[in-house]
């Protein structure tokens, strides 16, 4: 009985969201508003249990690391964002979080640039490796805006556009398949778990 009620609630809300395919309507607006509220409400206890308790409460009250009171006080300055005269205090917790950006410079340069470049600079032993190399270089040339895309240079960057279009097409295809997979899941729920029409 309890499972039937649970399935009914889930099915009703699923249909409320699907009703948007017809047009924007009160059922969809209700479900949308509920989703926003429930999602935020879901995050609060999770964050409290997984972040606040182990990193704020336990060190201060159980481990007696009273130094942690200072970052906790800095963190609580976030609420001054909503005041008119003291909103500048909210900059302090943000600046401490932004300090980590120093780590980002060598890390992004290493993982996103150097490693990728090393992987692209292989001996051109096969057609595929050659194509990957040509594709990478022509796309990078396409994003070099200091030179007008005209003449031979324009033709080279055009090759880059073709490579990018194929890449975007592949990403598009994957995204469509992921969404259709979700859609199949919802249809299976409605026809199977809720209505019992399919096993």
């Amino acid at each position: 009985m309890f499972e039937t009620i649970s399935n009914f609630v889930a099915a009703f809300l699923t249909l409320c969201i699907f009703s948007f395919l017809y047009k924007d309507n009160p059922f969809y607006k209700f479900a949308e508003a509920l989703l926003v509220g429930v999602s935020m409400g879901y995050a609060i206890p999770l964050l409290f249990e997984n972040v606040f308790m182990p990193y704020v409460y336990t060190p201060i009250f159980l481990d007696h690391k009273f130094i942690i009171i200072i970052p906790a006080l800095i963190g609580s300055l976030y609420i001054f964002r909503f005041t008119k005269n003291l909103s500048w205090l909210a900059r302090y917790p943000i600046t401490f979080s932004m300090g980590i950006v120093g780590m980002g410079i060598p890390m992004s340069l290493h993982s996103s640039v150097l490693v990728q470049m090393r992987s692209a600079m292989l001996p051109l032993a096969s057609i595929n490796i050659t194509l990957i190399f040509i594709g990478t270089v022509t796309i990078l040339l396409y994003f070099f805006f200091s030179k007008a895309h005209k003449g031979i240079y324009g033709k080279v960057t055009n090759v880059g556009i073709w490579f990018m279009m194929i890449g975007f097409g592949a990403s598009f295809g994957y995204t469509v398949m992921a969404r259709i997979s979700l859609l199949i899941g919802r249809i299976q729920f409605l026809l199977g778990d809720w209505l019992g029409l399919i096993k």
Binding site: L21, L34, V38, Y78, G104, I166, G169
Partner: protein, 207 residues
Amino acid sequence: MKRQIPLMIVVILGSMFVVHTFVPHKISADFFDWFQDWIKAISPFAILLGVISLSMVNGTKIKRKAPNWQYSVVTLIGLAFTAIAGFVWGTQTGTPYMWLFKNVQMPMGATMFSLLAFYIASAAYKAFRARSTEATVLLIAAVIVMLGQVSLGAMISKWIPITSKWILNVPNLAAKRAIMIGVGLGMTATSLKILLGIERTYLGGGK
């Protein structure tokens, strides 16, 4: 001073972490661990911004009886009820909190994303109508990749799964690699701008 001191904190901390990456001395490693504890203690308070902001926006709508204010009531009830359920009955399996996740949030979230399947299909139709060579190339690649993922593709031709795999492993890899290099350079440039105090938007407006 209200802007300069936060800016100096970012510049000093950022520079110290750049040095730490290249000179991982014990002192700097200990400082980094200590700083991470501080960041973890600061971070949970950020949710206050979200909760207060959402409550204020919806509270103002209700107070002013703005159009569709009734849905703001639904949002606030959903927020309060789910949070209270989590604090009162816990977050374990079998609690009202997890019931709300399983039967309210998860189905609606999945359905919301599945709606995109329909809109993506309409976007594909519009792209095809554009009738440019590039748009056609994009669509052909997408169709081959999609057919390559399902058994229907192999039933049509044995070449479809092979071509799909080739698209993913060769031109797609080249595109992703070049974009990744661009993103990496962009991230590095933005981080440097923050570190040198050129980029200050994170400080917000006002004095």
